[in-house]
Symmetry: C2
Subunit: 311 residues, 2 copies
DNA sequence: GATCCGTACAACCGATGGTTGTGCCCTAGG
DNA sequence: CCTAGGGCACAACCATCGGTTGTACGGATC
């Protein structure tokens, strides 16, 4: 289907005549006639009844019209998503299941008029470079990579510590526990597909392993959360970490268990990073929203790598 | 923008390679390369970074991707809206401000998975013909036209009596009234733009005029509800009828008044009409929804033309 | 450094979609 | 009833676009 033909269809509806639509589109009436004929042939229905003084929509035309308008709207938004200058707010995060995703959903509910685009870059180095270049407006990351301070023109604020919970199947050795300590996890296999080696996310789990002697397998391709949940549910020897905030589409009858981890509770620290001089108006709105909804650190004992920036 | 190019873009993303996308689309790799180059030129951004073994999305490409997928989804729905056989449920009503609109919004909330299209045909004669031909699946109408019984293959059920309220500006003579009787309306000008002469809707108001001696001006073009509300708010000599169910975008500071009408309350009777043999699965769902949410007739005295079909 | 894999460029060609010119049909008006 | 005019469709023509084949180029791997 041709978007130009759809645009022509809408123009004819709005003007009521092929001729006026042609003038509006700066083409000839015959070209409009051809485009509409082509669209009608493609859809295999008649969209207009041609009368002696103009056109009237058929029933099919009436049904098609709102979809046509929607199509043009979406096309416009698609183009706008990459136009430099006045494009939607573009935010990076480590994964779609991370707590940052929940924060952005909340922001979208609070400000539905603000257009958003979410991207997922390789690591914080890439993200910081993208923030500095203006390719993205903000990123949710754990700062910083060990030994590398943030550039001076990048500002950051710690917005959320994401507590990790253990997710097990019903046959797992710890399935019946109300809560587990980190020490109890030693010796159990914990599977974290989707974590890419060389990223600060992987560094986080490396530190967790080093400090508490856990066994974390981050290798293997990521087939999505459905496959992950299926495997965890069916494999007694495997568990995984999952954010307490993550709202999953819970597979029925799998008997999955979420178990809090204590002494200490590992938290993944998300900071919002942005460029000091970024002029995007929605960025200020996002920062205001995040500072308003910031969760106060709870009193429980938590753990994060030593290299994360203090709150 | 070309939808074929967008489809190609998504195919390249999904396969990770120009070549595989080409195979999927049954064109050559060079054609894919051209399409992507054209799309990138049109958007004036680079969508992929070309590597030695395939492609990776740029940041702009990542931001564009969800919009591209959405565009293809909407395009598919647009085509599906006119495909005979498995198209969305197509329902006719007399006006977008009528109570039928509220009923359909409620149905959509209850069954968001059911695709709907709303059309507005000329009158009940046209609507019944469209129902019989299968061009539409159902219509909300006041049945029947005086002296014309419904065809035998058309079934109907009275679903909602829409009580009319008076809508006035703050300077109207009746603006301060808690309620008004029909008799009190005699002599006041009531303006109802958008009612087309020759329809059963016009017949309803003709009857109302004849029975109670009202002054209803149905002439004049309909510039939409915004213009109507503006005029009513600013013109002390004019009022209009409006459904008690209508949820308007209430213009702030206009001081508009909704005043119930009594002794009797004129109601516009909506029936759902459908073809006995219509096989659309969503039609049964709609009928079940309407019978479940049907409002029991309240005890107040109401009026409707004598020619409407009994409940 | 040779090979392989994957994309880009060039040349060619048919299809597509635009224009101009013209015909037909329906409505309005005398 | 006939005519004039407004509006859409068809035909012919032509430029452009988008596809194919053939080939070059560049990066990764062994």
């Amino acid at each position: 289907m041709d978007l130009a033909a759809v645009r022509t269809f809408v123009a004819v509806v709005d003007t009521g005549q092929f001729q006026d639509a042609a003038a509006e589109l700066s083409i000839t009436q015959q070209a409009v006639s051809k485009r509409i004929a082509g669209l009608e042939k493609h859809l295999a229905v008649r969209l207009f009844t041609r009368t002696a003084r103009g056109t009237r929509l058929t029933i099919d035309g009436q049904a098609f019209l709102p979809h046509a308008r929607e199509l043009l709207r979406v096309a416009e938004r698609a183009v706008a998503s990459v136009v430099p200058g006045r494009r939607p707010l573009r935010v990076d995060m480590i994964a779609s299941r991370s707590a940052a995703s929940g924060l952005m959903r909340g922001f979208h509910r609070a400000h539905p008029e603000i257009e958003l685009d979410v991207v997922m870059l390789f690591d914080i180095e890439t993200a910081v470079a993208a923030v500095r270049s203006g390719a993205i407006d903000a990123t949710f990351r754990a700062v910083a990579v060990p030994g590398r301070p943030l550039p001076e023109d990048i500002e950051s604020v710690r917005v959320l510590d994401e507590p990790l919970q253990l997710l097990t199947g019903p046959a797992h050795a710890l399935a019946a526990a109300r809560s587990v300590t980190v020490a109890q996890l030693a010796g159990h296999r914990i599977w974290m597909p989707g974590i890419v080696p060389g990223t600060e996310w992987a560094a986080y789990y490396d530190d967790l392993v080093a400090e508490f002697g856990l066994t974390i397998e981050a290798t293997g391709p990521n087939f999505g959360s459905d496959a992950l949940l299926d495997t965890i549910a069916d494999t007694p020897a495997l568990a995984t970490f999952m954010s307490e905030h993550t709202r999953l589409v819970w597979p029925a009858g799998h008997g999955l268990r979420r178990i809090p981890v204590t002494d200490p509770t590992p938290v993944y620290p998300h900071s919002l990073l942005w460029h000091r001089d970024n002029p995007h108006p929605a960025l200020a709105t996002l920062r205001a929203y995040l500072s308003a909804t910031a969760t106060s650190p709870d009193a429980t004992v938590t753990w994060a790598p030593s290299w994360v920036v203090a709150r």
